[in-house]
Amino acid sequence: MQTLIDEAFLQRLANLRFITKGRRKGRLSGLHPSPRAGVSLEFADYRPYAPGDDIRSVDWNVFGRLDRVLVKTYVHEGELPVYLLVDFSASMRVGSPSKALYAARLCAATGYLALRGLDRVGLYPFTDHLLPGIPARHGMRQIGRILRRLIDTVPSGQTSLDHGISEFLAQTREGGLVFLISDFLTPGGYEEGIARLLHRGDEIVVVQVLAPEEIRPTRGGSTQLVDVESDRRLTLTIGRHAVEEYAERLAAHQARLRRFLTERGLPLFIAPTDLPIERLVHEQFRAGGILR
């Protein structure tokens, strides 16, 4: 646990809350607005008194002014299931620290944040299929389970977001706030999965984790490039031209991903592994309206 996240950072996260766009349907009380009116401090509306209503909810000031018996209704604060859907394919091994380690730290931070907000949190690592996960539960004990699973899970295998998300949807019936964390370095294969998540009504936060050398590769003369997932090899002399051409291709790939997400109203957070998690959470997530 200590290797993933430190206590000082957790204390700085304590005052943050997730912002959800829609009203949550959870029946248990939480800190997120629910479509059902209920008991809370946040005023929602007036409605005419009906027999059976609590006499204490009658607004006597309004009755004095308008001579109408109205009762006050309040926003019901429901809990929100938060799903951490993390890519643990072999490509996440790349980088120093590895993208997988960075993603694990991000999961630990967001999981802690959600559990502090009385939400249920579940962890669902995937490669080209869903790996054994942690079902969403309440309580701070859950963070321990999540951290142990993050530490125990070794990145390996190939990536298939569509397949992983498909299995995730099959395992979870209730929609929630989904953090989809991956390097998204596949020619495609994520569109269908994200569309299905949206169809179920999940709110999705997409975080793309990249190693700095993937964003700005260094020149290295004659180099044998090895794909860590497929073990395919390519020998190339990486000079200025090769680096420039790679940068163009990566930019096009990123633009395609961003366009797809923007069209669906989803934010994309790019997290280079040399960006401190604290800055990602405090600056980018807050600026993106994920946290308040």
């Binding site: 490509s91 996440m92 091994r93 790349v94 980088g95 120093s96 620290p97 590895s98 993208k99 380690l101 390097d183 370095l185 596949t186 020619p187 190693a211 993937e214 290295g220 003369g221 004659s222 180099t223 044998q224 490039l225 090895v226 794909d227 860590v228 997932e229 497929s230 395919r232 390519l234 020998t235 190339l236 002399t237 990486i238 000079g239 200025r240 031209h241 090769a242 051409e245 790679y246 291709r249 990566l250 790939h253």
Partner: protein, 591 residues
């Protein structure tokens, strides 16, 4: 030069290393997440310089360098030079205590002498080389015939002694044992002092010295009136300027101190009261210490008189007993005495040990006869006898003299009216003294000579240590153990106990400090100091001696160890570089 150049053929293996190196894949390996982003990219054209740069590998360079060093080592490299060659060389190192002092540059004099001696031996090799360490107890460090390795090893391991300076006679004697000084081309003495009367063939190499200040005398006595002691300290300042110093005196439990300003080239004597001290081991320290620290500390042992066990036979006599007690504390005992006193009685048959007979006889030695008046003055039949030291016999008067019959011949020391008055009967294991007259019929008890005479007698009989003996013993000087009982052991300054044989009569100490002699009679402190002659050495230059004209010969210095060491070092560096390279790659992969 190379003694076996054919070994350079080993360099042909360089070609093999180069071929193997070129055959190895040169591409660097990089793991990527998305090969599809790289596919189709045209690689950059590589310049010739880049190709060469890529081909040149640190490991290759290290391997080639190691091969080169190995080939050179096998080719037996040597450096040829012309050196003077001697038939015989004797190196004499002054090993006296003053060589422990520092040079003006801050080094140790002995170490400087060693370095120069080693330099001489290395750069002017001789067929026979001997090494002598000269002091009051000279030692041969290496006899002629020892190998140069042995000589250098013994020289490097040698340490200066605490003894005083050796003498030219000692040196001449050792050179004689080497076959005579004439048998050697050079005899070089490394020393910090000037020498007179050295053998003519000895050259002197001076080791530089600096000014010194030292405690040259230190003694302590009991205060004559009050409890405590008084210390006398003499300090000499050899510096060119005033020296502010502090003299600290301490015994086993307390200490006292005195600050002084010493004039240049002056000797100062101070008396320092030490009230309340009941110690026996005193140490004087001069602060701050200077370049020769050994003489800034001096030791002194205030030996108290020992208790004399006396068996008294016959009539009591207060005069004689008082005289005995004036000499030393007396304990009257019945058994196991140090001395038996027989007064106007007959010594029991079979008595053993030293015997003082006063108007008494002893069977088997002497028998007393009739008494007769004596009017003639007392005369010394053996003038200057040690038993009469400080005594004027002509002042003695005897009213009656006793005739005696000797059964064993004795030495008559005093006589009166033609008869013996004081007779000594020396023996192999005991001494008997006989005063024939009745003490109370002489004027002896009321003369000033009486306690002196008794002290002489007791000193002769039991060999007492001197009263409040002022002990200042030098390193290497013999310390007589007689008069202190049967020696058992001594304890050194470092608290180590060494057993002593029963029949030992004297000991020598090789280091300064406080020692404790343990006997069956008790413990006796002994203070041992560095000889004061070591404090202020005469460093005027000694007359130049002849330097042997040495023939020049060719010498080869073997460079193989250097080349072999370089080869091993390069291989180790190459192995380390090779080990680090895959680790870096593995770390990247694991990350």
């Amino acid at each position: 030069m190379l003694l076996r150049p054919s070994a350079l053929g080993l360099l042909a293996f360089a070609l093999l290393i180069l071929i193997l190196h070129l055959l190895r894949s040169r591409e660097r390996r990089r793991e990527v997440s998305a090969l599809f982003l790289w596919e189709g990219i045209r690689g950059d054209p590589r310049s010739t310089a880049a190709r060469i740069r890529q081909r040149i590998d640190l490991l290759l360079l290290l391997q080639l360098a190691a091969l080169f060093a190995l080939a050179v080592a096998l080719a037996e490299p040597a450096w040829r030079r012309q050196v003077a060659n001697l038939g015989g060389l004797v190196v004499v190192i002054d090993g006296s205590a003053s060589m422990r002092g520092e040079t003006p540059e801050g080094g140790v004099r002995y170490r400087e002498a060693l370095d120069r001696a080693i330099d001489l031996i290395v750069h002017q090799p001789a067929r026979r080389t001997g090494v002598i360490q000269l002091s009051t107890r000279p030692a041969v460090l290496a006899a002629p015939g020892a190998t140069s390795g042995e000589i250098l090893d013994r020289l490097r391991r040698s340490e200066p002694t605490w003894y005083g300076d050796g003498s030219p006679d000692d040196l001449a004697s050792i050179l004689q044992s080497f076959g005579g000084g004439a048998a050697f081309d050079r005899i070089v003495l490394f020393t910090d002092r000037a020498w007179d009367d050295l053998p003519a063939e000895v050259e002197v190499e001076s080791v530089s010295t600096g000014p010194n200040r030292a405690i040259t005398r230190f003694s302590v006595r009991e205060h004559p009136v009050e409890p405590g002691a008084v210390a006398l300290v003499e300090i000499r300042n050899d510096f060119e300027d005033l020296q502010s110093v502090r003299v600290r005196i301490r015994d086993e439990s307390t200490e006292t101190a005195l600050s002084l300003l010493l004039a240049p080239h002056e000797t100062e004597r101070v008396v320092i009261p030490f009230p309340g001290s009941r110690g026996t081991r005193f140490t004087a320290t001069l602060e701050p210490a200077d370049a020769f620290a050994a003489d800034d500390v001096r030791y002194f042992a205030l030996e108290r008189p020992i208790e004399l066990r006396v068996r008294w036979i016959g009539e009591p006599n207060r005069y004689l007993l008082a005289a005995l007690r004036a000499v030393t504390p007396v304990l009257l005992v019945e058994n196991d005495p140090d001395l038996t006193v027989v007064y106007s009685a007959s010594a029991p048959a079979g008595s053993r040990g030293d015997l003082l007979l006063v108007h008494s006889d002893a069977p088997g030695i002497v028998r007393l006869g009739d008494e007769r008046p004596a009017t003639d003055p007392v005369t010394a039949t053996t003038p200057g006898h040690r038993l009469l030291q400080g005594v004027d016999p002509s002042a003695l008067r005897v009213r009656e003299i006793t005739e005696l019959t000797e059964e064993r011949p004795g030495t008559v020391i005093l006589a009166a009216a033609g008869s013996p008055l004081l007779v000594e009967y020396p023996g192999p294991d005991r001494t008997v003294l006989l005063f024939t007259a009745d003490l109370m019929r002489t004027n002896l008890p009321v003369t000033v000579d009486f306690p002196i005479l008794i002290a002489n007698w007791i000193g002769q009989l039991v060999r007492l240590p001197a009263l409040e003996a002022h002990r200042w013993t030098h390193v290497g000087d013999p310390v007589t153990l007689a008069g202190r009982g049967v020696p058992l052991s001594f304890v050194g300054p470092d608290r180590d106990r060494s057993a002593l044989p029963d029949d030992i009569v004297s000991v020598r100490f090789s280091e300064p400090g406080h020692y404790t002699l343990e006997t069956d009679r008790g413990t006796f402190p002994i203070a041992v100091n560095v000889p004061t002659s070591e404090s202020f050495v005469d460093d005027r230059p000694t007359d130049a001696r002849r330097v042997a004209a040495a023939e020049t010969v060719e010498s080869l210095i073997d460079l193989r160890p250097i080349a072999a060491g370089a080869a091993i070092g390069l291989l180790l560096v190459e192995a380390l570089a090779h080990w680090r390279r895959p680790r870096r790659r593995k770390r990247r992969t694991a990350a």
